[in-house]
Symmetry: C2
Subunit: 197 residues, 2 copies
């Protein structure tokens, strides 16, 4: 299983306009990351879970989870992915903290914080934070199940980075270039595919 | 300089609806590839040329060229990229074969075939075709300037593959997984970045 946690600090947490994804707190970035994570050519990857933590207005936080083994009618274009996020946000408007519902097959929405999710994951599986000045990925040994934490265009706050450190989560780097989050995800899949993990 | 040629066999060649990029012959795929090719986090790459050969209805072929050193007001979301393609198609409706115009800074449109473009590139720079059963990329030696040929979701026709072979263009592979074209581009940048090319 490959898992990805995207922290989208500005992404809106109520239904938004599909014609202006950047205006919805860079929902385009969230959608693009999901496409990079769940698709290969003409198919969904089998064992991927994608967690998008949305922290923009008006109802933060919202955690949207996609599980490829159960997804239906999802296509790689940003607008399609965003339309599924929109449905989840609509159905999840009135969630209490900790509550989670299924909005569509393979898609769930919860009111749940980044910290809670990360603590849970770090207990369950090898969890790493993608960070420019981390351990070079070539030198890092991945387990069969791994969860990657990825920041959006704003990165993670200092406070959050300290939180990850306190959880004992290692930092892994793709090198000197700071890639788009969606590019990071494509590259991570490639690195694991090469190693046959 | 890194150059990419995307052959988009179905992509429409007249202005299309921005609300339905998949319906415009998978224009979402074209836009996503452009984003993967020209952006890094918060910036454009400096030395990238992207060629999209559109061969869908009603006016094939159209060749759209983006040159990152000259681009202005381009953003990574699919809709923004597609809107620039749309402007180019609008301005390029009446081109004669071989004619080329600049539609916006850093964006040109020509009526020109895949074969003509490839022949020119193969003379100028190291040109390779990304192909599942090609030479493993780890074993391939890249020059400083390189041009990658990438198929869309339909791949290249047998006839085109023979054409590339006749041009002496080597095939290079990213391994067993068939990635989305946009993922291929992200991975290629990463491979070249790692090697400091």
């Amino acid at each position: 299983m490959r898992e990805f946690i995207l922290l989208a600090r500005k992404a809106h947490t109520a239904p938004f306009k599909l014609n202006d994804l950047p205006g919805a707190g860079r929902m385009d970035l969230v959608a693009r990351c999901i496409t990079a994570a769940i698709f290969i050519s003409e198919a969904l990857r089998k064992d991927v879970k994608f967690y998008a933590v949305l922290e923009g207005p008006p109802n933060p936080p919202r955690l949207i989870t996609l599980e490829t083994s159960k997804l239906r009618r999802v296509y790689p274009d940003e607008r399609n992915i965003a339309s599924h996020i929109r449905i989840a946000l609509e159905k999840g408007l009135k969630l209490r903290y900790g509550q989670e519902i299924e909005s569509e097959p393979g898609i769930r929405i919860a009111k749940r914080s980044f910290e809670d999710l990360v603590k849970e994951k770090a207990k369950e599986v090898q969890t790493v934070y993608m960070y420019k000045n981390g351990i070079p990925i070539e030198e890092f040994k991945f387990e069969k199940n791994v969860c990657f934490i990825i920041g959006d265009h704003k990165g993670l706050s200092k406070k959050r980075e300290i939180f990850l450190e306190n959880q004992g989560i290692p930092k892994v780097s793709l090198g000197k270039v700071t890639y788009l989050a969606s590019q990071v995800i494509a590259i991570l899949h490639y690195e694991l595919d090469k190693r046959g993990i």
